[in-house]
């Protein structure tokens, strides 16, 4: 069905959500077929009843008329036959010849059976014979190869019986013709009904198909999809309601976007505003740390707490800044050759965890952004070291054109109810345990993994430990800062032209 295309415009600034399974699909055309069949049934049955009824009534009337005429004729012939009494052989022959001559075949039974024409000598039923013997007029219709109507009676004043024979061949042929014509007409009506029903169903259901496509388009994020409103039928009213709904939805989502945008801007502003005082605090704390032992007991303890908490505050602010940069889509990916296990070993060495973390696997090279990979793995390993118990294992393996890194700990595991929200910002498995993290570590790791074209998943069973798996493409999608960031930094376009042969995508060499 061609139909006009759904009036759609690309509105979704966000990519369509990756639906795992579509809605239950209605097989197209099924309803249309059902409607057509119903239409044909109604038309066929009513036309059939009408034609069949008329035919039966007409046939009855024709047979009755034929019988009446034959009966009248038979009475007349019986009176005539009375003139030939007594039936000597000669008079009998005269009678038969006379009737045959007037165009009537008759059968005379007077002791013996005498047909006027031997070709027209139907077998007479017992019923007819007894009716006639009782002195009444009787008839029978023979169903033989020739349709014959036999009307018989007793010749008045004798025991002879006279049977007058009418050939109904023409009548039956006429009825047959009528029946054929009616049947052909019925077939025509059914065909016409099928055609009209099909077309009508298609016409009727077309707006339904259009609405279904429009709904699908909206589901896929094309929020500006609208249905054409033409005419004043029920479907137009429906289309108008649909459009109202789509409009409301679009407005609602736009409002949500704005709210989210405000929230993100607020986060970015807060982080930015906090940065200056935190910088001063970090500097002051670092000076204070060098003089802690010169302070009296209580003041020293206070100083120690101050120094520790400034470190936490700094990390929180830095994480907030990073997540707001990621939200704004300003982060560029700078792809180069990276040896994943080598990078892991460097992280472990730099953070001072060599006795807690075991790194498995030989050199495994992939093309990705080492700084982002370091952020993800650093966060995952720090998480495992902090919350897991015993040994932390990091395994790197390649499968096909993808590379995955598993970070396993042997900790108490994460309760199942926390798993779905584990990567949410500020989600804490144990609210009472403040820990040393900002609550943003896993959220940042997830965003960075996405930026590298990868996924981050977690499997955890209480008692046996937790496994975080980072799954990366062997070659990360190289990109430039998003168009949004580029537009905001239009004033510094010379940056890109200033680095003609040393773009961010150029490998920086991979000496370990």
């Amino acid at each position: 069905m061609s139909g006009e295309p759904v009036a759609a415009a690309t509105a979704g600034t966000r990519p369509a959500p990756a639906t795992t399974a579509g809605p239950p699909t209605v097989r197209p055309g099924r309803l249309r077929r059902r409607l057509t069949i119903a239409f044909v049934l109604v038309a066929g049955i009513s036309a059939g009843v009408l034609a069949g009824g008329s035919y039966l009534l007409l046939r009855q009337a024709r047979y009755d008329a034929s019988l009446h005429a034959a009966a009248a004729d038979a009475r007349y012939r019986l009176v005539l036959a009375g003139q030939f009494l007594p039936l000597t052989e000669q008079r009998r022959t005269e009678l038969l010849t006379s009737f045959e001559g007037s165009g009537r075949h008759v059968v005379l039974i007077a002791g013996d059976t005498w047909p006027s024409d031997p070709a027209y000598a139907p077998a007479l039923t017992e019923r007819l014979r007894s009716t006639v013997a009782a002195g009444e007029l009787g008839y029978q219709r023979s169903a033989g190869p020739t349709r014959l109507l036999v009307v018989g009676g007793r010749v008045p004043g004798s025991t002879a019986e006279l049977y007058v024979i009418t050939d109904e061949e023409d009548l039956v042929a006429g009825l047959e013709q009528l029946r054929n014509a009616l049947a052909a007409g019925w077939v025509l009506v059914v065909l016409l009904a099928a055609t009209v029903g099909h077309t009508l169903a298609r016409r009727t259901l077309e707006p339904v198909g259009r609405a279904s496509r429009a709904a699908r388009a909206i589901t896929e994020g094309l929020l500006a999809t609208r249905l054409p409103v033409a005419g004043r039928d029920e479907f137009s009213g429906w289309a108008a309601s649909f459009n109202e709904m789509a409009e409301a939805l679009e407005a609602k989502i736009a409002a949500l976007h704005r709210a989210q945008e405000r929230e993100r801007r607020f986060t970015a502003d807060v982080a930015h505003e906090l940065r200056t005082p935190v910088t001063a605090l970090v500097g002051a704390a670092s000076l204070l740390r060098d003089h802690l032992d010169q302070l009296p007991g209580d003041a020293r303890r206070a100083g120690e707490l101050l120094v520790t908490d400034v470190v936490r505050l700094r990390r929180l602010v830095e994480d907030l800044m990073e997540i707001s940069r990621l939200d704004a889509g300003r982060e560029a990916v700078s792809v180069t050759d990276v040896d994943a296990p080598g990078l892991v070993r460097r992280i472990v060495a730099a953070r001072g965890w060599p006795d807690r973390v075991t790194v498995d696997g030989g050199p495994l090279r992939l093309r990705t952004d080492p700084r982002r990979l370091e952020r993800v793995l650093g966060n995952l390993i720090a998480n495992a070291v902090q919350h897991g118990a015993g040994e932390v294992r990091v395994r790197t393996a390649r499968s096909g054109d993808r590379v995955h890194v598993d970070v396993d700990d042997q900790g108490p595991g994460i309760p199942a109810e926390h798993l779905p929200r584990l990567f949410d910002r500020f989600h804490k498995v144990d609210p009472a345990r403040s820990g040393g993290g900002s609550g943003l570590g896993l959220a940042i790791a997830l965003e960075n993994a996405r930026l590298l074209g990868g996924t981050l998943t977690v499997h955890s069973a209480p008692g046996t430990g937790t496994r975080f798996r980072l799954d990366l493409p062997g070659s990360a999608p190289e990109d430039v800062p998003s168009t949004r960031a580029a537009a905001e930094n239009a004033g510094s376009t010379r940056v890109s032209s200033g680095l003609p042969d040393a773009g961010g995508s150029e490998p920086t060499g991979g000496t370990g």
């Binding site: 970015a268 982080a271 930015h272 940065r275 200056t276 005082p277 935190v278 910088t279 001063a280 605090l281 970090v282 500097g283 002051a284 670092s286 000076l287 060098d290 700094r314 602010v317 830095e318 800044m321 707001s324 940069r325 704004a328 300003r330 982060e331 560029a332 700078s334 050759d337 460097r346 730099a350 080492p370 700084r371 370091e374 800062p481 960031a485 930094n489 510094s492 010379r494 940056v495 200033g498 680095l499 003609p500 042969d501 040393a502 961010g504 150029e506 490998p507 920086t508 060499g509 991979g510 000496t511």
Partner: protein, 226 residues
Amino acid sequence: MDGRVLVVEDDASIREVTALGLRRAGFRVDTAADGRQALTAWRSGTVDLIVLDIMLPGLDGLQVCREIRRSSAVPILMLTARTDTIDVVVGLECGADDYLRKPFDLPELVARVRSVLRRAVVPPEPGPLRVGGLEIDSGAFVARRDGQELPLTTTEFRLLLELARRPGQVFTRELLLDRVWNHSYLGDSRLVDVAVQRLRAKVEADPGNPRLIRTVRGAGYKLVAG
């Protein structure tokens, strides 16, 4: 270690704490709260290094940097508070030698300042190096082309010297970060790229088509003598 550092920072607390930290590390410190004060302070005395905040009221750090670079190769360590990474590149292109992102650690700042200053003190070669029409005098810390002194910053000079000591050898960006900037472990390779860019603008006959300092795709840079 002795040296005179000018700290340009509009936030009083950061300015004071930075000055304190640098003084404790043995530097003499002058401070300025905005761009104009910075230029005045720089002109009135001998400054060995400038710690320059990018976000300044009035004349901002980038403008101050460009103004100073017009007549001086004094080492500049840039402080950036912006969340934008593009800012760093712009600052480096203006001629800053290195950068630090706020919030920074005082010990790290001191280490960077020392490292930038140390670039001025390299073990001198026995005699001037001559490569590709350049004469590099590591003792006098100057490079000349046809007897004409080239206006190189200390970072650019160190980069040129590093490459010129072993002509033909490919230097990865990480190696250069380590040797010239003393950055280790995942430093920002843009420092190298921007510095090479600026160096080419000063030593190449046609910076758009560099013949002396070549990019080795997928590896790094090398200097081709002759």
